[in-house]
């Protein structure tokens, strides 16, 4: 037994690394050793005094972090959507029994996929075979419309699926259309309001940026932005409105920010975005 053993014990017990009581032997040793007592007293004071209360970082840290996370999620979404559309189908096929595979062929989603591919083939074939230009162009636009409407059906069907990766595929299909179908846009916005997966919601927000005009939906998006609990999603909804919204909706958004209905980080984000836009 020496001084160091007792100092070790003291530090370990203060740092929650040791729940043992001081032994009798240690107590006896300590009794007649006043310099050691003073040393232990110092250690105790240092560990237990509220020497320097924790400092809170500024909101800028949150804003920077959530922007970084948002960029990472967008990048992840872009790659995962491609992978899930092109690769997962073939992987799943291998693991499914024959009967399940046949059943899947007869599902509306698979039929729509097959029909889309057939139409794309027909479109290419016709363009190469027909010599009449006018007839060509009519057939081309007709087939294009059919492809777009089949992709829309496919997207809507995928958006109703149970897993987030399938819904992400649905969002990816919706981006292949021109989002001219109001039913598809309505379904996307409904999903945006209630989907559990942040990735799906962020992907939908990205897709909505492709809308030629979202006049009819922007009020709804503003309401969603105000009610949104998830900081990241709220920030992206505001970015969508600021980048693509009408002047009126931008004004309403700024008013909401001024009335402090939005999170402080988002208010600061809006302020920064507005400054950039005006520059």
């Amino acid at each position: 037994m020496n001084n160091q053993d007792i100092i070790d014990w003291k530090i370990a017990s203060l740092a929650n690394n040791n729940a043992n009581e001081l032994t009798k032997e240690m107590q006896t040793y300590l009794k007649g050793n006043s310099p050691l007592q003073a040393e232990l007293h110092f250690i105790e004071q240092f560990w237990e005094n509220d020497i320097k209360p924790e400092i809170t970082p500024s909101d800028k840290l949150d804003v920077n972090f959530y922007q970084m996370l948002s960029r990472a999620q967008s990048a992840q979404y872009d790659s995962s959507a491609q992978i899930s559309v092109h690769a997962s189908a073939s992987e799943e096929k291998q693991s499914l029994p024959l009967i399940e595979t046949v059943k899947r062929w007869l599902m509306p989603t698979a039929i729509a996929q097959f029909a889309t591919l057939s139409l794309v083939f027909a479109l290419g074939f016709n363009l190469n075979q027909t010599s009449n230009n006018q007839q060509n162009s009519e057939q081309y636009s007709g087939l294009q419309k059919e492809i777009s409407s089949l992709t829309t059906v496919l997207a809507m069907s995928m958006l109703e699926k149970d897993t987030a990766s399938e819904r992400l595929s649905g969002v990816a299909y919706s981006r292949q259309t021109d989002l001219s179908d109001p039913l598809l846009v309505k379904q996307l916005i409904t999903l945006l309001a209630r989907d559990k997966s942040t990735s799906v919601r962020l992907a939908i927000i990205n897709s909505l940026g492709q809308l030629s005009s979202f006049d009819s939906s922007e009020q709804q998006i503003l309401t969603l932005a105000i009610k949104e609990e998830n900081l990241l999603v709220q920030m992206e909804l505001c970015r969508l409105l600021l980048n693509y919204g009408s002047i009126d909706i931008k004004k309403s958004l700024t008013e909401q920010a001024n009335l402090q209905f939005l999170k402080p980080e988002v208010r600061e984000f809006i302020q920064t975005q507005l400054t950039v836009l005006y520059i």
């Binding site: 929650n16 690394n17 004071q45 240092f46 005094n49 970082p57 972090f65 970084m68 996370l69």
Partner: protein, 182 residues
Amino acid sequence: MFDEKELMFQVKAGQLSQLAILFENNKVQLFNYFIRTGNNRSLSEDLVQETFMRVLAYRSSFSGSSTFKSWMYGIARNTIAEHYRKNKNQTLNCDMDDEELINEQTLAEEYETKQKNVIFNKSLASISAEDREIIVLSRFQQLNYQEISTLLDCNLNTLKSRMRNAVNKLQMSYQKLVGENN
């Protein structure tokens, strides 16, 4: 209470949104770790941001053999080291030692406590970065010995001995400052 290791595994599996929970749980402590190891506020915020960028970038290397905290502080230490390697001319600033000692002698207890705490902070700032780090990790970041030894890549006995030396130097510095002040 969240299981941080489980959350980090979820981030590793691709659920990046879970990183937000880890960030919210740790940002204040990590920020204060950078402050206490001698960096100013602005740089400490940048270092927290950089640390979490690396947590995201290196997520696939998280094996779960140590706690998330220990792994995160390992990244934080490398982040600081790299920062000072790139900025060789930049010296450690101490927001820690810019507090003025109270020279007026007063018997009021709160002033005594405040004075004592200022001296504690000054003595912590005066010891070497290595000694300070061990004390900060244990006393302020509340990492246990096992976590600190993994982080510093040393065995438990070596850590105990280093801790003892660090506390000893802290006490000597404290006594010196008390003597000067009296």
